[in-house]
Structure formats: structure tokens, C-alpha cells
Symmetry: D2
């Protein structure tokens, strides 16, 4: 990986693609795994690409586990809360017990959405709340009070792990390293880049899909045809 590409998400978050395995032509890792052959052994682009589609169409997902993505992601807790429920992945997190939360590390939405009509637990990105500027201002002021109290508790000698209780916890940004294989990534995107998912995690899932499409154009094409929508599972 010559250079790390970062895409900004929400007001202060981001996704960086830190590394991939293999480092180039990731689609060929699927092909080689299916043929149990050397990496990058090709039978010609047409046959190779056809194989990727054929595998996914017939549910042969194990070769897709041979391509791996490593991301560095900064996201609010409300997003991680849902993300870490995906268990086929590796995570390393910046610790809120170890490191003091920074004053500026709160997610403040720039728009407030109404509940969705079609799904009781979701919100509707086209239905904004009236008077939202005022409400967002109130949220921001409340955040600031929480951060002030947090700092006060620290000064009085309260341990970091405990003082954080007064923070607007769901809004606090944490940075994680996340490693996922392509099979698990497709499952993640399918469930989270979805209108039923919370709007915030969807923004991250959309960026992951962008990286997926860029690095594995054949697999992404197969995903759209044979996988997307097949299995949907939302927790909250």
C-alpha cells in the first residue's frame, strides 16, 4: 500500500483503507482460492471474472474469505454499538479508560430526522424536523456541559473510566482498527448500507462499499447481482 486513502464521514469521522490482502488484484485472491492454485494464476480475464460471479451465485462464499481489508475508522459510539455486533471481524479500539476524551470529539448531527414511516426504528432522511437549528444548538450546549463536568470530575480525581459516564456517550468518537474478510464485509454492507439501518452507520457502510468496489470490481458486481438483499439483519 503506497499511500493511505482517507474518506471523511459525518462531522469528524473518517474511514481509511490501511491495508489489503492481497495488496493488488484482490479479485484474483478469490479466483486462486477457488482453484487452490498459486496466487494470481489466471486463465484469462473472462474466465476469471466469470468464476467470481459463479461462486457467489451458487453460495460458494469461502473463497471470498481469502481477500482481507483493514480499515482505520473514526466513528461515534452509536455507530460502533451496532458495528461490533459483527463478530466475524477483528477489532482494536482506542480505549476510553486509557485516553482522556477530547473536547471536540462529539458527533453533532447537522440535520435532525423524523422517524421513518415504513420502519418504526429507523429515521427518514427526507423528513427533517422543523426548527432543527435551534434543537441542534441545544444539543451542542448540552454536550458542552457534559464535557465540562467530565473535566471537572477528572480534576477532582475521578478515574477516567468512571468520569466518562456524564459524557454524551453515544456521540463520542472512538477510533478503531477493523479487519474484515470480503465475505464478512459483504454481509456488513448488505445489512448496514441499507435503508433500515441507522443513518449514521449507513454513511460508513457506504464508504466501505466504495472501497470494496474500487478494490474488487468483479466481486462487487457479483455482490450486487447475487448477494445484496438476500440476508438482512439489523440490530440496534
Amino acid at each position: 500500500m503506497e499511500e493511505i486513502k482517507r474518506i471523511n464521514v459525518l462531522d469528524k469521522g473518517f474511514v481509511e483503507l490501511l491495508d489489503t490482502m492481497p495488496s493488488h488484484h484482490m479479485d484474483m485472491a478469490v479466483v486462486s482460492a477457488a482453484r487452490v492454485s498459486y496466487l494470481m494464476d489466471s486463465k484469462g480475464e473472462d474466465k476469471d471474472k466469470f468464476l467470481v460471479g459463479f461462486l457467489l451465485q451458487h453460495g460458494h462464499t469461502s473463497p471470498f474469505e481469502m481477500a482481507e481489508f483493514k480499515f482505520r475508522v473514526k466513528a461515534p459510539v452509536v455507530v460502533w454499538w451496532q458495528w461490533v455486533r459483527h463478530r466475524i471481524a477483528e477489532y482494536n479500539a482506542q480505549s476510553g479508560r486509557y485516553v482522556k476524551y477530547d473536547d471536540t470529539e462529539c458527533y453533532l448531527p447537522d440535520k435532525l430526522r423524523q422517524p421513518s414511516k415504513h420502519n418504526r426504528q429507523a429515521s427518514d432522511e427526507d423528513k427533517l424536523v422543523e426548527g432543527q437549528e435551534q434543537l441542534i444548538k441545544m444539543m451542542k450546549e448540552h454536550y458542552e456541559k457534559g464535557l465540562k463536568l467530565y473535566n471537572e470530575l477528572l480534576e477532582k480525581g475521578v478515574a477516567r473510566e468512571e468520569a466518562r459516564l456524564v459524557l454524551p456517550g453515544f456521540a463520542m468518537y472512538h477510533t478503531f482498527i477493523v479487519k474484515m474478510n470480503c465475505h464478512s464485509l459483504m454481509n456488513f454492507i448488505n445489512k448496514r448500507n441499507h435503508r433500515d439501518a441507522q443513518w449514521e452507520i449507513r454513511q460508513y457502510a457506504a464508504v466501505l462499499e466504495e472501497f470494496f468496489k474500487e478494490k474488487m470490481p468483479w466481486a462487487h458486481e457479483a455482490y450486487l447481482k447475487y448477494y445484496k438483499g438476500v440476508d438482512e439483519n439489523i440490530e440496534g
Copy 2:
């Protein structure tokens, strides 16, 4: 399971042992698995108990995966945040997108602890913060303001998934069903009923260990002898 036993934890949380597999004599599930025999086939208590210890002593952990616990747990997000990092388990969570948070469902500590001397990220349960009553009162008032603002946002039409950003997120109670096999449970207890773990999750881990000891006395005895302390991994 005739009756469900509940043990209260923290100010408003609890652990209930909902179910076990097998329903009785769980230690014998380990024995039977190791012998690949019928459930409850015994060679006499002495030999059976010896086998449980022998297996753990020699790292034969797979038979311990054949005994299963199902808990219903109410705990604040700060605890779940660490708990769900244990990936060899099954989780079902009450959704904060779906259900409105209740006014009284915040964890308020009754004591404020100083950082631990021996571990930068932990707190010390013997070193309390001076003037803590006043600080706890300030925390409570801040919680109440957050909950008031949350309700106000809901009234203005903001979706639940978004309004919760102003809550004291780490303090909010959520209820989960958690299923863990005995191997994974021993790993959980070893890491979380530990002085380096956050005090709050340690209270839950101690209750889990109590249930473990009650239901699998042989395995628990073996755990204390051969497993405890062996592998420690704290995230935060």
C-alpha cells in the same frame, strides 16, 4: 429450569440465569463430551471429576464448549461496550432505536473511585474521591438534563435513534440475552472478574462466576487451578 434466579448488580442492573444446557449436572456434559458417550454416562464421581480437571490442565478445552449458559442481563452501555467484544457468544439486545429510553434507566455510581496506581486505565476501589457526594449529585443533575432534552427532542419529532445522542450514553441501561458456552465463559470471567477490568463489568463477571460455580462446581474448581490468570486481555 424450574425458576429463574436473579442477582442484582449495580444500582438498577441484574443477571438472571435463564437456562442451561444440560439442564442439570452440567459438569457431566464435559465428561460425556470427552468420552463421546451418552449424556450422563458416569464412571463414578471420582473418575468423572478427575477427568474434568485433567482436561483443563492439559488444555483440552473443547469438551467445555458442550455446556452452555443463557443469561438475561441488564447493564449500562459502559459495561456492554466491553462485553460485546467477546465474540464467541450469542447476543440479543433491547434496541434503543426501537424502544424509548426510560427516565430511570441510568447508572449512577454510589462511589467515585480514583485511578489505580498499578494500572493507568483502571480505578482503585479503595481510593475514593473526596467530596464525592457532591460530585455524584452533579452527575445526577446532568443526567436529568440529558433525559429532559431527549424527551424534548422526541416531542419535536426527532427519531429515537438520533435523539439518544444527548443521553449520558455510557450510563444508559440496556437488557441483553447472552448465551455463552463454558469455555467462552471461563475466558470472560478470567479477563473481567479481574482487578484490571473496569469496576462495573467486574461486578457482572463476579456474578457470572457465582452462577458458574453453582452449576459446574468441578469445572469451577479446575478453572481456579488451571485456567485463571493464564490469559488476560483487556479492551476498553
Copy 3:
């Protein structure tokens, strides 16, 4: 579980349902998990059953992980070879290093099938090989020679783990304890009780589906409607 039910499979194999979690009304474990409620809390049979279908239809598979099956299975290595590739399960196996293989523990097919027309790697149960009685007799004689040589090697002092190399390894029966949650079981049945799966493992998967249907009639009905055929993955 009052009594263990055994169903015979192939010439000398079997599946026993050793235990389930919960022990009764397993469908209600899915319902309770989805509601994060006490076990067996019902809103009436119609609503409960509807919920099971709704969950699977919308890909909410996690509540299905709260129902658990434990089987004792005797099957030839050719079946285990494929079975153990399912990683979301717990296994305990009778060891061929520890226990001497018994003379009668070989799987001998009673019919010999031709390759399938529609799938190069499968066989066709309707297209039997001509002269198969004679061929099966030759197989049996070759098995016997292998077992004789195995015993001879043991007598000469060769370790069991090494002597077994001369056995008809794919045909040797092994007994395992297998624990699978309902989600993983549905995945197993979907892939293995399938015309593209090897005929032998299909016989086992069909028995597992029978137990599944008996113990979780609502989930099985939902499986047939919303899950079956969706994701197919055959290894060999």
C-alpha cells in the same frame, strides 16, 4: 430430555438428539430472544409464530442462535470431512489415535451411483452402476485386507495413529458429539440436504432436518419459506 431418540443412517451410522436448549418449546427461545424477555413469555400463539417468520424473512437471524441442538453422530470420515468445515459449531470426536479401529466399522455402500449429469462433482441416486454387486464385493474384500494389515501393523508395534494409514480412511466410522445453534443448523441443512451435496452427507442432513422440524415447527416452516436455497456453499 427424558429419552434419547436415535435414527439410523447409512449401514452402521446414526444420529441421536442428545439434548436441546431450551428443553421444550424451542421455537419460544427465538421469540423470547427477539423480545429480550423472559423465556416462554408469550403474546399468544398467533403472534409468537408470526414473529418467528417475520424475523427470518427480514434476515434477523440472531434470535435463532438462542436455540441449541446437541447431537451424537456416527458417520464415516467422508461425511465428517465435509461436516467439520462448518465452523460455527462445537465438536468432540472419538480419537483414532487413542482408540483402535474396530473391524466392522467401515461404511460399505449398498448401491454404487454414477456421476451426476448436472453437477460434475456429485452423483446421481437414480443412475446406478451396472454390475454393482460384484464391485461392492470387491470393495468389501479390499476393506478386509486393509483392516487385516492394520491389525498386523499394530501387532508389530506400530502406533495406532500411524497404522491407520492403510485403512480405507474415508469409509471408517467415527462418532462425534456436535453442538449447533439453530442458525448454524439451518445453514448446514440448506447446503447439505441438497442435491449437490454428496449423497452420504445428505442422508445425515435429512435426519437433522427431521429433528429440526419436530422440535421447532415454526422455525422450520419459516426456513422452508425464507431461507432454503438462499445461500448454497459446497465444499468437498
Copy 4:
């Protein structure tokens, strides 16, 4: 990876290191994950190396999951039989249903070992069986008869998946692609490059340890100090 390195194992097997993640300085993936920082961010070699040891000493194994190895391995079924029980890994296998077994693809030991005195299920590499040349010759002849019968069955029209029953199954070579993260690899090496493991799989585990040591010298040093021997689990 510029060039793929192959190490031969047993009479016809091998291990190739196909790919790693990251492609260079794999130890730094552990360091970066623990610091949740950019890949390859260093605080100087002394501090970086110290951190790797500190993490393993205190059971912080999750950063080790961020380094990944991909192998191509040719091994007899008796080895795979034990290997695939390691579930935290990805596998793709050459299929014996799809591809005809080749005449020369049997593992024939060059030495025959006696059972171990200290472990009933193992063999002792220093205690060879008397008259082993003659016994090995008999094994070879029996293999040849099995392969001859296999070919005869195929000629008569028996499907490949069924004809293989007469082969010396445990001795048949299969090629797999195996992907394992460093945490899972350490667990594998700890259990399989061990005197209680079957001699054959130990040869493979020793090669994996060689690759591990070459690619992650710091982690390997920490492994020897803090992990090796801690947790032992042998199946068979």
C-alpha cells in the same frame, strides 16, 4: 510478496507462504493495532519491540489478530483431519469429489514409530518398529491395490465421490489454501508443534513456526516466552 517460498514436508507434501498482511514488517501490524495508529508508525525499535512482548505477557491478544498469513499446503488427510478442527481460520480445499485422485498422491511414511510411553495416543520418534522396511513395503503394496481398485471403479462408472472409499483415505494428499491470523497461528503451533501431537502434523506445524519466526521475529520471541505451553488442546 516477490516470490513464493516453498518448504517440503513429509514425502510429497509442502507448505508455501503465499501472502502476508502486511506484506512487510508484520510485527509492526501488532504495534500499530495496539496504538490504533497508522500502519508502521514507530516510536523507535526498542519501544515497539517491548510493546509486542508486553501485550502477549498480559494476554492482550487482539492486536496479534491484525497480522495475517496465507499458506498453500499439501498434506495427507490424516493431517487435515486434525488441522481443520481449528475454527478460527479460513480454508479452501481441493475437492476429492471434483478432481480424480492421482496415483502418486499417497503419503507413505519412511519410518514406523512405536506408541509413546508417556502418552497413550502419540508415537515416539525415537522408538522405531523392528522390521519396518518389510512393513512399509506391505503398506505400499496395499496402497497400490487400493488405487488400482479406485481406478477400476471409476472406469465402471462409479462417481468419484463414492469410488474414493477404497483409497487409503488417511494417506491421500489434499492441497488447501489456509489463512490464519497470528493469534490463531500461535494457538495452532502451540498445540501441534508439540510432542503430544501426531508426528505428521507436527512436521507441518514446525514449518509454520519457521515462517512465523522469519516474518514476525518479535512476536515469535514473545510467543516462546509468554504463550508456548500455556494452553494445550489435542484432538485426534
